[in-house]
C-alpha cells in the first residue's frame, strides 16, 4: 500500500468523524518497537529502558578507571526509592548464624577501617548477544563491564562484630530494591563463607572516591573482587549468615552454568553451578569498530582482566587468528583490576581488516575463539573483534 493511499485512508477516517478512533490508537514508539538494540542515548548504550540496563561504549575503556557516570548499569528491579536508602533511614542488618545480630548505620561503617580495592565489575551476561544459538536475556554486547576504585569496609570486619558461628558456610545478601509485582522473587544471593571472609571482599560505600551513586547501589554494595557482578549486591540492607546457599530463583535457577558442556541450543538440564569467578577476557578499546585508518603505524589499545588470576599475556591477530603477536602490557598492574595493553600495527596495505585480541591468565587459561554455549549465555569470553578499513 502506498503512502498516498494510506494518507487517503487516514483522511477518510478523520473526515468521517472517526477522529476519536484514530486519536486513541497507540503511538508507534510506545508499543515495544524495534528501536535498534544498540541505539545510544547519552554516554551509555541503553539495552532496557525500565528497569534501566545500559552498557558502556567500549571507546571509554581507553582510560584505566571507568568514570561513575559512564559505568554500566544493571539491576533486576531498578533502584529503590531514594528515601529508602537515604542516610537517615538506611540501616544494615546482620543476622542468622551469628552470636549477636547487629545493626549498622552508614556512620558506624565509616568509623571502621576503610579499605580500597581497584576491581573490574562485570555482568555475568556481558557478551550474551554473541552466543549462537541466541539465548534469552538482556542482549549485552561488549560493555557491561568497568574498572573502578571501591572503598568500604571488609565484610569480615562486619561479620566479626556479629561473631560467625562454627556451622556457618554461606553469607546471604539482600538489597532494598523491590519488584513492581510482589509475586516476582526477590533478588537474594549468597557467597560461600570463604569468599566472604577474604580480606579483599568489601562492602563499598565509595566508587572512584565519590559516594556510591544510586544507580550503583547507594549507600552500600557488596564487592567480591574477581567474581561476576551478580554477587555484588547493590542497595545492601540484609546480611544473613547461613549453613546453606541462598534459596530462591536467583540462586537456584538463575546465574548458574552447566558443569558439563551442553549441546548448543538444548534447554537447561543436568547439574549446574553458580556463576562465581570471572574468566580471562580482553577488549580492543581503540581503534573503534568501523573506523577508517591511514596506512602506517596504528596503535591498538585495550584492556584485559582475569578475575582472580592475573593477566600475563595479551596477543593481537590481524589475520583471523592464524598469527598472533604479543601486545605490551602497560601502566598499573593490580590484582582484580584490568590491565591496559598496546600493540603497534603497521598497516601497510589498504583494505578491510579485523583486529582480534585474546588474553592469557596466570593459570594458563587463554580466551577461546568462542565461549562454550550455555542456556543463559553467561561468561562470554570469545576473542574480541573490531573491523576497520585502511584507506589512503
Amino acid at each position: 500500500m502506498t503512502v498516498a493511499r494510506r494518507a487517503w485512508l487516514k483522511r477518510l477516517l478523520n473526515g468521517l468523524g472517526a477522529g476519536f478512533i484514530v486519536n486513541y490508537r497507540l503511538s508507534p514508539t510506545q508499543a515495544g518497537e524495534e528501536a535498534p538494540a544498540s541505539r545510544e542515548t547519552g554516554p551509555l548504550t541503553v539495552r532496557v529502558m525500565r528497569p534501566y540496563d545500559a552498557e558502556t561504549p567500549v571507546r571509554e575503556f581507553t582510560s584505566y578507571l571507568t568514570p561513575n557516570h559512564r559505568f554500566f548499569v544493571r539491576s533486576h528491579f531498578g533502584p529503590p526509592p531514594p528515601e529508602a536508602v537515604s542516610e537517615v533511614h538506611w540501616k544494615l542488618h546482620v543476622s542468622g548464624l551469628v552470636e549477636r545480630s547487629q545493626e549498622f548505620t552508614l556512620k558506624d561503617l565509616r568509623q571502621m577501617k576503610a579499605v580500597t580495592v581497584t576491581a573490574v565489575v562485570q555482568c555475568s551476561g556481558n557478551g550474551r548477544a554473541f552466543h549462537r544459538p541466541k539465548v534469552p536475556g538482556v542482549q549485552w554486547e561488549r560493555g557491561a563491564v568497568g574498572n573502578a576504585q571501591w572503598t568500604g569496609v571488609r565484610l569480615r570486619d562486619v561479620l566479626a562484630k556479629a561473631g560467625v558461628q562454627t556451622e556457618a558456610r554461606h553469607v546471604q545478601f539482600q538489597g532494598a530494591d523491590r519488584p513492581v509485582v510482589a509475586s516476582v522473587p526477590l533478588f537474594v544471593r549468597s557467597i560461600p563463607l570463604e569468599k566472604a571472609m577474604h580480606p579483599d571482599t568489601i562492602l563499598a560505600y565509595e566508587m572512584n572516591g565519590r559516594p556510591l551513586p544510586l544507580l550503583h547501589g547507594a549507600p552500600l554494595r557488596v564487592m567480591t573482587p574477581g567474581w561476576m557482578a551478580d554477587s555484588c549486591i547493590k542497595w545492601l540492607t540484609e546480611i544473613a549468615v547461613q549453613a546453606e546457599e541462598a534459596k530462591g530463583y536467583y540462586m537456584q535457577t538463575a546465574y548458574r552454568i552447566p558443569t558439563k558442556p551442553l549441546e548448543p541450543g538444548i534447554s537447561a538440564s543436568g547439574s549446574s553451578t553458580p556463576v562465581e569467578a570471572m574468566v580471562v577476557k580482553s577488549l580492543v578499546a581503540a581503534p573503534q569498530e568501523g573506523r577508517t585508518l591511514q596506512p602506517g603505524p596504528v596503535t591498538i589499545q585495550g584492556v584485559a582482566w582475569g578475575g582472580e588470576a592475573k593477566v600475563v599475556k595479551v596477543e593481537v591477530s590481524i589475520d583471523e587468528g592464524k598469527n598472533w603477536e604479543p601486545a605490551r602490557l602497560v601502566e598499573e598492574d593490580r590484582p582484580y583490576a584490568w590491565r591496559q595493553w598496546q600493540y603497534v600495527w603497521n598497516a601497510e596495505t589498504t583494505g578491510m581488516f579485523t583486529i582480534l585480541c585474546r588474553a592469557t591468565d596466570a593459570q594458563g587459561e587463554t580466551q577461546p575463539a568462542t565461549s562454550p554455549w550455555n542456556p543463559s549465555g553467561f561468561l562470554w569470553n570469545g576473542w574480541d573483534r573490531v573491523t576497520v578499513t585502511v584507506a589512503a
Binding site: R50, P133, P136
Partner: protein
C-alpha cells in the same frame, strides 16, 4: 428535532464504520507480507497485551531484542505468568504465537516496524464509539484499576513505582487524564489498546471519589 439529529448521527456513524472496515481490509492485505505468519489483528492484540501486561515490570525493548525459538518463548511466557503477569491461557497462547513468529532466531537484528498507519487506523477495542461524554461508574472502576493500574500506582492509588493518583491535580483536568491514559506519558505506557473508553471513564470516576 432531537430524534432526527440522533438518526443523522447514527447514519454518519454507520457510514464511518463501513468505510473504516473496507479501509481495514486493504491495510490488512498489505500488512500480511511483513508479518509472515502473524495476522495484523493478532499482532495488534499481542502488542496491546505486551504494553498492558509485560511492561508493568519491564519496558518492551527487552522483548524486542530477543530472537528465540518457540519452546523458549513458551518457557518465558510461562515464567512470567508464574511470576504474576496477569494473562489468561488464551492470551498466553496468543503471545507465544506472536512472539515466536516475529522474534524467531532467524529474524533480522533490525526488524521493520509494524505499520504505524495500520495501528492508527484499526480500532482495537471492539466497543462502539460512544456518543457524547461517557458516564463513568466508580464501582466498576475500582476493579479495572486493580487489574491494570495498581501494579505501578499502588493499592488504592496511593502510589508505588508510578505516582500517587489520589487527589492528584490531573483529576481536575479530565482531558489531560484521558490523554495520559490513552497515549502514555514518560515512563507510563499507552493504554488505548487495552482499556475501552468506558473502562477509562470508570477508572476516572473511581479515582475522583478517592
Amino acid at each position: 428535532m432531537v430524534r432526527r439529529g440522533q438518526t443523522m448521527r447514527f447514519q454518519a456513524f454507520a457510514l464511518c464504520m463501513i468505510l473504516g472496515l473496507v479501509g481495514l481490509a486493504v491495510v490488512t492485505a498489505a500488512q500480511e507480507k511483513d508479518m509472515e505468519t502473524v495476522s495484523p489483528a493478532l499482532g495488534l492484540r499481542a502488542e496491546g497485551l505486551i504494553i498492558a501486561r509485560c511492561s508493568v515490570c519491564h519496558s518492551a525493548d527487552l522483548i524486542a531484542q530477543q530472537r528465540l525459538p518457540r519452546a523458549r518463548w513458551e518457557a518465558t511466557v510461562e515464567k512470567m505468568e508464574h511470576w504474576g503477569a496477569e494473562i489468561s491461557n488464551d492470551e498466553a497462547d496468543l503471545l507465544v504465537r506472536y512472539l515466536s513468529a516475529r522474534y524467531h532466531p532467524g529474524a533480522p537484528d533490525q526488524l521493520l516496524p509494524l505499520d504505524s498507519e495500520l495501528r492508527k487506523a484499526e480500532p482495537l477495542t471492539q466497543e462502539p464509539v460512544a456518543e457524547g461524554p461517557l458516564t463513568g461508574v466508580a464501582a466498576r472502576g475500582a476493579g479495572i484499576f486493580e487489574h491494570n493500574c495498581q501494579a505501578c500506582h499502588g493499592a488504592m492509588a496511593i502510589g508505588g513505582m508510578g505516582p500517587k493518583l489520589v487527589k492528584t491535580p490531573i483529576l481536575k483536568q479530565e482531558d489531560l487524564f484521558w490523554e495520559t491514559v490513552l497515549h502514555g506519558r514518560g515512563a507510563m505506557p499507552a493504554w488505548g489498546s487495552v482499556l475501552s473508553p468506558q473502562d477509562i471513564a470508570d477508572i476516572f470516576a473511581w479515582l475522583s471519589t478517592k
